[in-house]
Each structure stands twice: as C-alpha cells, then as structure tokens.
Symmetry: D2
Subunit: 139 residues, 4 copies
Amino acid sequence: MAEKKITREELSQMLSRGIFANWLGIALTGVDDDGITLAVKWREEFMVNAKLRYTHGGILATLIDIAGDYALAAKIGRPVPTVDLRIDYHRMAEPGDLTVKAGVVKLGRTISTAEAYVFDGEGNLLASGRGVYHSKTDG
Amino acid sequence: MAEKKITREELSQMLSRGIFANWLGIALTGVDDDGITLAVKWREEFMVNAKLRYTHGGILATLIDIAGDYALAAKIGRPVPTVDLRIDYHRMAEPGDLTVKAGVVKLGRTISTAEAYVFDGEGNLLASGRGVYHSKTDG
Amino acid sequence: MAEKKITREELSQMLSRGIFANWLGIALTGVDDDGITLAVKWREEFMVNAKLRYTHGGILATLIDIAGDYALAAKIGRPVPTVDLRIDYHRMAEPGDLTVKAGVVKLGRTISTAEAYVFDGEGNLLASGRGVYHSKTDG
Amino acid sequence: MAEKKITREELSQMLSRGIFANWLGIALTGVDDDGITLAVKWREEFMVNAKLRYTHGGILATLIDIAGDYALAAKIGRPVPTVDLRIDYHRMAEPGDLTVKAGVVKLGRTISTAEAYVFDGEGNLLASGRGVYHSKTDG
C-alpha cells in the first residue's frame, strides 16, 4: 500500500485513544526510519501470580502486537487489523517498566509484516515476535 | 513427561491464584479427556478504543496462552512456562463474555504443544492458536 | 470467499500438475467435509543425512503447506498463495511413507486458515501446523 | 548453552553432509559475528508448476529452517533439532539462485531462537522467518 506521511504527534494521539493500550500504560517515545519505540509502565495486574511475580506472557504478546501495528501506522497513517501474531519468550520478565522497539519487515500492498522486541529496564531481551497485518487501503 | 493426576478443584484453585488471569475474569468451567473450557467475563478495558469497541487481540492472545497452559496443567499437574505462542485472528470480537476451549496436541518429554479456540456468546470463532510449552519435570 | 464445487478428480489433477509436489510423491487419497488426506512416497533425498536418517523438517513443513492449501482448494476451487506457515515438530520421522490430513480452520473472505497433521506408517504424529492463505476471489 | 568454537571449514563440512541440503544445492558462503550466509543453486524441481514457475514456499521454508540451524551451529558447534518454524512469504520467487542470511535472536540454555531471510539474485526479500531449536548440550 502507498506510504502516507503522519506526524509523531498524530501517531502519539492515535495510541492514546487506545483503551487497552492506556490500561497497559503505553507511551510513544521514539519514531524514526527504522521504526518506533514504546515505553510501558509496569502495574501489579501484569503479574502471573504473587509467587511468580513475572509479567504475564499475554502482556508481552500484546505489547508486540501493538508495537508492530504502530510501526506500520508510522508508515501508512493508521493502525490496521492483525491477521496473526507469533511470540517467542526469551527470559522471565521481572517486575518493572518495559521498552518495546518495533519495525516493519515488509510493507505489502494487502498484507504487511512487522516485528517487535520487548526489553526490561536493564536492556535484557524478554520476548520478541512478529505480527502479520491487513494493510490494504480503503480506496 | 509423565502424566499426573490432578482434580478439577485443584486446577481451578491454581487458576484462581493467577493475578492477570483474575483481572481477565477467567473461570474454569469444564475439564474432560479432550481438554478444558474457560469462561471469560468481558470488561470495558478489553476494548481497542471507544470507536472500535472490539476486544483487543492481545486479550485473545492471552486467553489462548492461558487456556493452552491449563490444558497441559490438567494432564501434568501444573501450568508450565510458554516457549512460544502463535495466534490467528478470525473475526472481530464484539463486546461480550467469551468462551475458550483448549486441548493438548502433543504431550512431550521436554516440550509440549497445546491449541485453543476463543468463541463469542453466539459460538462464533474469534481467534485460535497454539502455544509451545516447557513441560519438563523438575525431577 | 464463496465456496465453489470441485470434484475429487479435478482436485487430484491440480495436485498432479505440481512440479515440487510430484517430486515429493504426493497423491490425493481422500476428500470429505472434514478435509483431505494425502499419501506421500518416501525417497532417499528426504533424509537429513546418512547418520540421522530422519526425514528433513523442511519436507514436513512443505507437506503441511501443500495439504492446508488443498484443504482450502477443496472448498474454493483452486490452491491459493500462502501468507505464512507455522510448523510444530513432535517426533523424529523415521524413513518411510507418510500420510497427511488437513482441514480448514476458518474460511474467510480474503484470508483463510488451514491446519494439517503428518503421520508415519504406524500412525504416529510427526509434525503439525497451520498455514494462512490469501483466499480472495479474483472476481 | 555454552558457546563452542567451530571453524568455518568445519561448519561447511557439516552442511555438506546433509542429504536434503545437498539436493537443495546449499553452500556456506559467509560466517561472521552477526550470522551466516548461504548460497542456493536453483533447480527445476523447485517450481510450483509449469505455469506458475515460482519457487515453492516449502523450499523457502526449508532454507529458513536450515539457515537458522546453521546460524546456531556457528555458535554452539553443531546443528540442533527444530522445535518449531514460522515463515512469512513476502514476494513470489521467480526462477533463479537464492541467498539466505541468518542470525541468532536468542541463544538459550535449552531453547534458542534464530531468524533467516531469503533473497533473490536482485536482493529482493522473498521470505523470512524464525525457528526455535533445542540447544541443550548433551553433557
């Protein structure tokens, strides 16, 4: 699909209208030609349980989905529906804020692929993965 | 890995100790030889945004991860860490409670595969997918 | 996309025009409402190496791709391009002929999902997985 | 798992003992800290059919599996079994030789993740994906 200019401010506003994204405490902290960066504020509800205080893998999967989507949005002007999602878990996620980096692997006419990486505060890679998205224009 | 008997009551208690699982409003409603069934209470925070009121794909991914894990737990006595997760999105999820069904594809000595299906209140398939899990015994 | 009737004979002929499919020795042995069955004739070139005589995982991945595609072809009248493919390996594949069973998980208007299972001659599950396919009609 | 030195010559010899890898015409053309590069000689049997002369997606999946495995082998001293494989198809592969680049995403104690990219002779990205591998040492 055709690329469409969008400002960082517009992208940040789109993200801030996300209800689940807001619950997750996601903020856009970077956009450049390689992709986007998100900051995620940790909250107690992220934990698997009181004994295993790790952030749940479902949270990490969601962050990869959203980050991949916004890496595409930065190129095409809006977030798009996810076709499928694949997540690899690399390391247990100790309680704490997270950083997510995402970029576009392939911008296609109808289908696009993006990838994302989730890091903890010390830069350890916790999870990474890819989403495939419907990137067809409406017109 | 060796199978280990666990009662439905024990499985249900394990699930209820999950912090993020509780936030998601998950309850165990069925266990048999084919797998498990979960009921999920919808909440406002699940929505993508106020305009697209669909349940976020990250919620559906989390449900597939948890359901696959508990399908394994029903066989081996406890939930186990997820190695990787693959989700297919089939249909937009309108606001409403959800049902998740999951079963074991392959119970392996160190690695196992489970699959899960998420349905809306009318029985429409919303998403489905698989998780690969570390099923190694501690002993 | 709309379903389109196709006879078993037509499906079998489509498959027999496949060059790589023919090299793999694939034949259609069953079609019903649940999906299709393929028989695969083992050949020496399938092996990983002379010491590990297992059938290569790439062969099993190919069989899952083709079987999923033909499960869709049985519903929509022709094989369609693969968007993405996910394979789980369950057991080493000893030398010998294979059977593949595949069915449609979701027939969508533009995107469809199929799944397939590869078995050895004794009925052991060797690998299984899913493909996502472009199922858009041309018209 | 512990890293183990292996020379490029040893890696190349391991690859050349592969029966299916040899049929595919794969040769190791590069190894450095970032990963490995393979060259693949096109052959007629790769084609989907005489009309759609594209290289079959199963061939591309196999190349991604093997390249990811050898990116790991370059770090740990030997190829290892594949747990699962995920392939994204980006562009139809016209007849012609291929180049595959692969690197390690995460080298784990028991489970590792590698990714690979397949290019045509003009540098177009045809397919990419990831494999998860059993990287446990025997000792």
